[in-house]
Amino acid sequence: MPNLAAPLDGVKVLDFSQGTSGGISTKLMAVMGADVIKVEPPGSGDISRAQGPFPNDVPHPEKSGQFLYLNMNKRGVTLSLEHPDGRAAARRLVEWADIVVANFLPGQLDTWGLGYEAIEAINPGAILVSIAPFGQSGPYRDFRGNEIIQQALGGLIYVTGEPDREPLRIGGEPSEYFAGFSAFSGALVALTYREAGGTGQHVDVSAHEGVAVAQMYSALSYIFTGEERGRHAASPLYRVADGQVGVILRQQDWAAACEMIGRPELEHDERFTDMAARRVNQEALTTIIDEWMRDKKKDDVYHDAQERGMAWGYIADTKDLMESPQYQHRDYFTEIDHPVAGRLTYPGMPLRWGDSNWELRPAPLLGQHNAEVYSSLLEWTPDDLVRMDAAGVI
């Protein structure tokens, strides 16, 4: 028997969430050993199922790369909260749960009779984690939000990009993932309190506030100095023969950098001896480094600089990541077999837990665990299942 890590063994999670933020939060819980029941609307299922990527770009609800990645290790059921019988079933699942996660529009759960007060009345120990673009209160509560809107209002975009061009968002869905990580940690804070003798409570996660936490320097600069940070690269990128390399020159790096580019005499060149001098003579320095870089390879520069103690980087695209000896050594990417999507390589867990291994299992098919979950937790008979299916409840 392999030694499996399951720090959240025994934790019961009822997951009404859709998409990225909720999906990643309960996936972390599921891989860490929690029993996560993912509840999807009958028919279409989670919105991620309709988003790509798909193999050969052909949409299929069981082959969405985003859905498969975000929903590993969960059990999946379908349940319509639009239907009174669906809401009755949901209330009984709330009795079972330690943690309930949802990212409906603020107020939606209340209209279904499943808001925090209702949940607390059913199960005082239950923790409700609500994720929303702007949280559950405030003047923007009902604003439409999504990735770019959250990055905009949270201060990420203003400081990214070139000073003389339009500001730029970060690629991917960083604010959605940040909200998901916040929901994961918020749930664990509330669980810690409850398991130490406290009660359940409502955890209110705002993606907007997550971005405002992440931007830090833009607000700090204004608060402390009255000046805007504006858009400037935090460290310069240089073009090499096969890509780009990121250079960081702290004071303690200077001698090593001169040595590395074969110009040891520059170490004591008064144009560059300290940070202030290098800033004044940035253009000359850039030219020197640029000339040296042009015919180099990104891997070579990255390893050479790192071996000399300099925290330089290189722009890694997806192929570079898949081929990274570091990632391969740590088995970061993991093959998982899925009954419909087949064997695919996924990003694995980004941390090691003692000497144990994580057990990674494929995402559920739509409604895969209906019979198992509803018969064991709600004591539905096979007839009940047929009836609920016919009525569109599941």
Binding site: P7, L168, G171, P174, V205, T318, Y346, G354
Partner: protein, 421 residues
């Protein structure tokens, strides 16, 4: 008001951003966080001991003051709700004191380069000897194993090496990094839950654990769809500027005033009709070329020009109100001042104030979650270097006044960085 994490004690030699932000949040929520540095090797977020004019430091009113290492905004923001102690870990008595403190802590969180804690004699195995069920978390750059295990990084490095930069950049342009060093706060916030999961496991099983986290891998883990596109289709994605792979139009549009912009994102055909009507082009809503997202993506440049015509004469905040009232996703590109005054953030009490001195009465970032019964708050301002050294040695390490005086005489608890610079 109840504190969720009361009774949990954290020993925190972590530095810079990710580690200190994680422990700040734990401290705000009730944990007793003991930040450990030495006057010789302070947290670099404290900035220079003798800062040069126009250096990297961020000081209240641009005034470094006599103790700039206690006044830098980066330090002040990330180290609230903690106690600060100084121990020279290159001295055997410093190591001994560390262990005696650790014996009464639940968790040690560190982010030194691989091998540094081991060279101090403070690796997980060493700490288990003084507290068998201790939990140790290393927020490593690359994780503790593999050919690049000893490599260092900052957030800006990780954006590059983890893949975020490969899909960040102007449409058709080079990949680029962000202006915010996103990986650090990302790692900080998820680590809060990881620490608590380890504490839960210890309560259930009686056993501690060593957690080896790779910040690079954690950063790649937010790129699930990007990686899956490669494994499914062999495609390495490239920057698409402010656009979206599906939603269209989506972009950042110029508004009235200097460097004022608004983000607009059309998710559905219904959103498109609402946008077309709002920007006074109802005929576009009926134009078959723009009826589907695919059509709108094909004519994206034309639509951007039409939208800009509408936004460029308007105040960004008014434009946002008009668009949101029409149920179109829109948001102002907020700068630092606008963030501090943001009605939503202000209304929800996002900015926190922590004390009486100038650095402490400024607004600070709080947390990305709110708790109905255990809210958490800035319990104390970031402590001056070594402010609680004696208190912690007495209360937590159980040292006598004579022992504490001896450590001071030996220079092990020296807390004046001016003596080393």
């Amino acid at each position: 008001m109840a504190l969720a994490l009361e009774g949990i004690r954290i020993l925190d030699p972590s530095q810079v951003w990710a580690g200190p932000t994680c422990t700040k949040i734990l401290g705000d929520l009730g944990a007793d966080v003991i930040k450990i540095e030495s006057a010789r090797r302070m947290d670099i977020a404290r900035g220079d001991v003798r800062p040069m004019p126009n250096g990297m430091g961020i000081y209240p009113e641009n005034e470094p003051g006599p103790d700039p290492w206690n006044r830098d905004g980066k330090y002040a923001d990330r180290n609230r709700s903690k106690r600060s102690i100084c121990l020279d870990l290159t001295h055997p008595r410093g190591v001994d004191a560390f262990k005696r403190i650790a014996a009464n802590c639940d968790v040690v969180i560190e982010n030194f380069r691989q091998g540094v804690m081991g060279r101090f004699g403070l690796a997980y195995e060493d700490l288990r000897k003084v507290r068998p069920d201790i939990i140790m978390v290393t927020l490593g750059s690359q994780g503790g194993s593999g050919p690049e295990a000893a490599y260092g990084s900052f957030g800006i490095t990780l954006e590059q090496t983890a893949g975020v930069a490969s899909i960040t950049g102007y449409l058709g342009g080079d990949p680029s990094t962000s202006g915010v060093l996103f990986p650090d706060p990302l790692v900080a916030v998820v680590s809060v839950g990881l620490v608590l999961a380890a504490i839960r496991q210890r309560r259930e099983t009686g056993e501690g654990v060593y957690i080896d986290l790779s910040q690079r891998e954690m950063t790649t883990s937010i790129l699930g769809d990007m990686v899956m596109d490669y494994t499914m289709n062999g495609r390495s994605r490239t920057p698409i500027g402010n656009r979206h792979l599906v939603f269209a139009p989506q972009g950042v549009y110029q508004c009235r005033g200097s460097d004022m912009w608004i983000a607009i994102s059309v998710e559905t055909d219904h959103d498109w009709i609402a946008l077309a009507q709002t920007i006074s082009h109802p005929e576009l809503a009926a134009d078959p070329r723009y009826a589907t997202a695919a059509g709108r993506r094909e004519h994206h440049d034309d639509l951007d020009a039409l939208i800009t015509t509408w936004t460029s004469t308007r105040d960004a905040f008014i434009a946002m109100s008009i668009l949101q009232a029409a149920n179109v996703p829109a948001g102002v590109i907020e700068n630092g001042e606008q963030l501090v005054k943001d009605p939503q953030l202000v209304s929800r009490g996002f900015w926190e104030y922590s004390g009486p001195t100038p650095a402490e009465t400024l607004p600070y970032l709080s947390r990305p979650f709110k708790f109905s019964k255990t809210p958490g708050f800035t319990r104390s301002p970031a402590p001056p270097l070594g402010a609680q050294t004696d208190e912690v040695l007495r209360e937590v390490a159980g040292m006598s006044d004579a022992e504490i005086a001896e450590l001071s005489e030996l220079g092990v608890t020296e807390d004046d960085p001016l003596r080393f610079s």
